[in-house]
Symmetry: C2
Subunit: 225 residues, 2 copies
């Protein structure tokens, strides 16, 4: 489904350049469930942003469904992001002036889904993540873990073929986190490809493959026996 070849991501600022990714090569097949781990600051979110078409490699290539993303124009990139990629951000990125329901409906709005169907789907997901009583709350009225769950519900609305989740249970107690991971497991069972950044071994256990990043490179890549 996706392949990174010798990807470098450098940030330029002030007097110099900082390389967050220093030559990453990675291939993920359709339907795989991959956990991405590694120390704080090692490049995991940067890698996820490249995979999710939110950022471009400085050098190297990213092939998504066989096409080099460098050849896609802005409209094609946006279409890919909206139609088959679901992204859960480490900092949630909910829109502050929309209520929870409107935030979660957003991907369906972009997809042109009819209002009644869109609402039904969004409400269904919000109930699955335990936010059925917060539909009309604003993000500022939510706890940290509630914002995280709203971000997860938003990413799941389109049942995306590729789910990229950046530390989706970091602000959740174990029981709530398990419920979320069960939902991710159902999406996986339906055929989706899953990549989850996590610091917790229990969360990584649910994946069939663990990739460890360290200082901008892939340090290990192991499949579960």
């Amino acid at each position: 489904l996706l392949e990174l070849r010798d990807v470098i991501k450098a940030y330029r600022f002030g007097g110099g350049e900082f390389r967050a990714l220093k030559g990453v090569s990675l291939a993920v097949h359709e339907g795989e469930y991959v956990a991405l781990m590694g120390p704080s600051g090692s490049g995991k979110s940067t890698l996820m942003n490249v995979l999710g078409l939110l950022d471009r490699p400085t050098e190297g290539n990213y092939f998504l469904r066989g096409r080099d993303v460098a050849s896609l124009d802005e409209r094609e990139r946006a279409e890919a992001r909206n139609s088959y990629i679901g992204f859960v951000f480490q900092a949630f990125n909910l829109l502050p002036r929309l209520d929870v329901l409107e935030n979660v409906e957003l991907p369906l709005v972009y997809a042109g889904a009819p209002a009644a169907r869109r609402r039904k789907r969004a409400v269904e997901l919000l109930e699955l993540v335990g936010l059925g009583d917060k539909l009309h709350s604003l993000p500022s009225q939510l706890s940290g873990g509630q914002k995280q769950r709203a971000a997860i519900a938003r990413a799941l609305t389109m049942a995306p073929a590729l789910l990229l989740a950046d530390e989706p249970t970091g602000n959740l107690d174990t029981a709530t986190g398990d419920e979320i991971l069960d939902l991710v497991g159902e999406l996986h069972a339906a055929g989706s490809t899953i990549m989850v950044v996590t610091h917790e071994p229990d969360v990584a256990e649910r994946a069939e493959r663990t990739v460890v990043v360290r200082d901008g490179v892939i340090a290990s890549d192991e499949r579960r026996a």
Copy 2:
């Protein structure tokens, strides 16, 4: 050191009222190390905000060092917050236009510390949390866990008598998280009172007492044998 008596915290909005704390009573002695756990949305951050003088109870009383905080004026509240309370926010709350070093120096600036001493102390803490190479980065240039560590360093600059940390290791890998908890342990050994909100049993293990919050009330309060 601190005592909550029948504290209620209600948020009013739209058509009604939501009670995040529904009658909480809690006493913490000087030098105690308390872990605060409970499901997402149960009221932990709300409780921490009341303890840290960032929010006021709707009903009930909060006695800090024997004084009812309702009797303190705004200047006295600010002084207490700046002089002996260190707060690590669940969402970090770094100031976006200040670099990491300036962010961490802020409590020392409020305390009127001389510039050279303030810089030395801030740099020392940033090196202890592994951000020695990020002194002049802006928060937007940091990873999630790096922002978290900057927020921790800022809370520790004044070696506060009361440290309130809201999920301080949620975005950190185990090794980095352990280093941070070791620093907290040193502050505790020096006599400070520590309250840490956490979802992780390993983190709670370091405390001598665990308080569990559920749906706005204290469900259990146990001391380690």
